[in-house]
Symmetry: C2
Subunit: 209 residues, 2 copies
């Protein structure tokens, strides 16, 4: 399989999941111009977004889908409780919150052009990011992260996805003083050998790109 | 089960899925003030968003998760190919696109306060909605909706979710002249007896609220 990625993006989650699943894969840098994806990447993913995973069945996009696909395709890695409807629903609920609310809040910091046209609007959006991301992570801290992992005792793709987005907290200028469990979770995740390996591979990609 | 909904919202998708699954359920109007959800609904869902489904296992939130939960819990209704990792990944990819990109584009029309603070920013965002929603539905028309259903010959929760969001096209002032397949899909969906029943129930909810 081939994963198209941009270092520092949410594609990091798919990269870590592939590594933890023991998959055979290759990571390629998506084509970019001026900080945005560009041709020929649009031929891989017409949406123009990373991650995109080239599988034997076709190209798969969207982080929640890629993470579940990896979990279902490599069941021995036990990355998601896919056969238990309630627990699996929890996984999908958490993924949906991260992609549709948290990642979207973050994206208003530098991608305001997706939803508005004026510089003043972009500045207004950027200014609100510490507050919106702080509110999201406040909910994660208080309501979602059961501990030690997101689902409680069971490690899952939720933990991988959370790490990918929690990496942005400082750049998004979020006040992290009350995010005790989120920061502890991130520190534990960053120590995992698979995560260390992916971080090193991201560095190589940055140098190659 | 109890579904908390707001008529006209994306909770419509969960409502239709419950009806098609043959589930025993009740629909309740989420508490609102000035067009936003309000206490005591926050006690049901701390995120303050519909839909929220009260199940025997707990409260489930986020449309992609609720739709998959219903499909997995009522397998005889055949609402999702959950045991085929590739097809199921397609379902989740489509759901993720709708919740994280299409619904988010729509929300900038009336919910700009989520991401900015100034009236001028809200106006700038609202003005761009026909363009962003048009681009999303252009991709759905061209790249995603295989026909006759989203996944091709197999009806699924993707079709239900697409209907919920395609209901917004006119209010979002999208130029629909090239959305031939999307409009045909919507018209076929609207004729289904389960959809007709849910539309009637939404009317009752509006009158009761």
């Amino acid at each position: 399989m081939i994963l198209y990625s941009v270092p520092g993006s949410c594609a990091f989650a798919s990269h870590v999941a592939l590594e933890m699943a023991g998959a055979h894969y290759e990571v390629r840098l998506a084509s970019r111009e001026e900080g945005r994806t560009a041709e020929p990447f649009f031929e891989i993913n017409p949406k123009g977004r990373v991650p995109a995973l080239v599988t034997p069945d076709g190209v798969l996009t969207e982080t929640p889908a890629i993470l579940c696909y990896i979990a279902q395709t490599y069941p021995q890695a036990k990355l998601a409780p896919t056969s238990n409807p309630w627990l699996f629903a929890q996984v999908q609920s958490f993924s949906a919150y991260l992609c549709a609310t948290v990642h979207v809040a973050h994206a208003h910091g530098h991608r305001g052009y997706r939803w508005a046209d004026k510089d003043a609007s972009f500045q207004d959006m950027t200014k609100k990011v510490p507050q919106t991301m702080g509110a999201c992570f406040g909910l994660i801290e208080k309501e979602m992260l059961q501990g030690p992992w997101v689902l409680g005792e069971t490690f899952s793709i939720c933990d991988i996805y959370l790490l990918a987005i929690a990496r942005w907290l400082e750049a998004d200028k979020v006040d992290t003083t009350t995010l005790i469990n989120v920061l502890d979770h991130r520190a534990r995740m960053l120590r995992l050998p698979e995560v260390q390996k992916v971080l090193a591979e991201e560095q190589k990609l940055v140098q190659s790109g």
